[in-house]
Each structure stands twice: as C-alpha cells, then as structure tokens.
Amino acid sequence: MKARVHVTLKNGVLDPQGKAVHHALQGLGFAGVGDVRQGKFIELELEGTDVEKARSDVKEMCEKLLANTVIENYDIDIVA
C-alpha cells in the first residue's frame, strides 16, 4: 500500500517560489497562467492493508513532521 501526501502553502501565505516559477513561465511565453503555487509531494510505502488505519497514521505523520500546519495544508491519498 502507498500513501501519497501533497503539502501546499495555505492561501494567503506568500509563495515566492511559485511567483518565481510564474515569472519564468511568462518569460517562456506562456501567457495564460494566472497564478502558480508550489508544494511538496511525499510518497510513503506502508505495510498492512487497512486503509483507514493507514490514513489515520499518515495524518499523524503530517501533523507531527511532514507539514507545518502554521503555513501548510496537506492532502492524503491512499493507493492500494
């Protein structure tokens, strides 16, 4: 079983890396991009087959280490 975690900056928190990517895309001529937000992708290999347990374990990992909930949100996907 795998867990995929996306960590993104909360709305309202300035994302300078996203802004830099936006500038670079404009420089390349991609005019239709409104805003860019950059985040992190973390993939975890998990033992066991209990999806709900996996989800609650990964939620705890996010709260304790993977995300800083002062500035970041996280999304968890469990892939069987």
């Binding site: 928190v13 300035l14 002062v70």
Partner: protein, 229 residues
C-alpha cells in the same frame, strides 16, 4: 553558570557558540549530541546555527523531533532559559516553543552579510546589557529567515513586547528596504511569553571580539551571565 549546546548532525556554528560562551562566561559549555535523551545539569540551553539534517523537509523540522528535544522542551517548560540562533530559532519554532513559522526568504536568496537591527526591548535576560532602541550590526546567514505568523499572533507578540530584534536601516527605521528577508513587521527575533526562550536569525556569536569587526553580539552573552550567575 554552565550552559549546554545541543549538537545536531549538520550544525556548523556549534563550535563558534561554544567559544563565545567560554570567552564571555568563563566556563566551557557541555556539548550534547542530539541522540542523547537527558540533559546535564545546566543553567542555559543553546541551539546553535547550521543546517541540521541538511535542512531537508523544512529547516529544523527533523531536529525538532530529535531524542534530546524531548528533554529540551521539558526543561524549557520548567523554566530553563533557551537561546536558539538561526537554525536554532527554526528548531524552536518547529518544536512549538515559539509561535509562527520561518519561510524561504522573500527574494529566494541565501543572505550572508552584516545587518542592522534595532533592540526593541531590554526587558529580557538576553538583552539587558543593550540600550532600548539601540541599533546593532550583527551578521545573518540564512535561506529561510522570513518570519511569518498569523495577524492575531503578531498582534500579541507586539502588544506583549515579545519582539526583541527588528531589521532596520542604520537610522533605526524599520523600512521595507531594510527588511532583508520579508519577515512580517521586520521581525528578526522574539521571546516566548515567559521571556525565557529567545529565537533570533542573526548570529551574535560571530561578533564578540574586535577582530570580528564588532562586539555587539557579546552583550547577549554578558546579559545572560549577569542574569544566571
């Protein structure tokens, strides 16, 4: 007066702070490896600057979960003073001992230079040897020093006089141009509510002797010596 310096893998200012403590306080500090689970008897805990765990994930995130940090958090909550410099400030925040977050610098650059800042309060055991409003020049060296906290937290920090250092120009004006990394309200260092835990981005241990081009960092160690002797 005996201090303990916590050494994490990737710390690279641990020896500088060891020398600063020894020179200003006359006693060599304990150097405590992050895998330890108990602290020696100590009057002060210092979390040094550097790149603990390679700054992976987020600066300070993994160091904050090191075995020794349980003892550090317990000691801090029981009243032992803690000084966190640069990465040490990031670790204090990630450990929940200070509020807010330290994000990537506004201009995405690693900044390594002397920076002027204003001492906003001398009412701490860390800053009693300064004058209120004194302009100091202390070097910074960081990539993630952009202090952020929600509006309510910032209001509380400002209202309670917990902002200790603020980036300013040489005249002491906290302008946007003087805000080197984009920190909210130009904040460079804060204390907790009990005023016993101090986190700051600049490196006072790098300006303790005339050879360093300045000695204004020494006053932090002198203040501590007087308060804790």
């Amino acid at each position: 007066m005996k201090a303990a310096v916590i050494v994490f893998p990737g710390s690279n200012c641990d020896r500088d702070v060891q020398v600063a403590l020894q020179k200003r306080m006359g006693t060599a500090p304990h150097m405590v490896w992050h895998r330890e689970t108990a602290l020696p008897k100590t009057d002060l805990i210092v979390l040094p600057g550097g790149f603990s765990y390679g700054d992976y994930l987020r600066c300070g995130a993994m160091a904050a979960n090191s075995p020794i940090m349980r003892a550090v958090v317990a000691a801090a909550r029981a009243g032992t003073p803690v000084l966190g410099i640069c990465n040490g400030f990031q670790i204090l925040i990630e450990a929940g001992l200070l509020p807010g977050a330290l994000m990537r610098n506004r201009d995405l650059k690693f900044i390594c230079k002397d920076v002027t800042m204003r001492v906003e309060t001398t009412d701490t055991i860390f800053t009693s040897h300064y004058n209120n409003g004194e302009i100091v020049k202390i070097p910074v060296a960081h990539h993630d020093g952009n202090y952020f906290a929600d509006a309510e937290t910032v209001k509380r920090l400002e209202g309670e006089g917990q902002v200790v250092l603020r980036y300013t120009d040489a005249e002491g004006n906290a302008t946007d141009a003087a805000n080197i990394n984009g920190s909210v309200n130009n904040i460079a260092g804060i204390v907790d509510e009990e005023r016993r835990i101090f986190g700051l981005m600049p490196h006072p241990e790098r300006v303790i002797e005339p050879l360093h081009r300045g000695t204004q960092g020494a006053l932090i160690f002198d203040s501590l010596l007087e308060a804790l002797a």
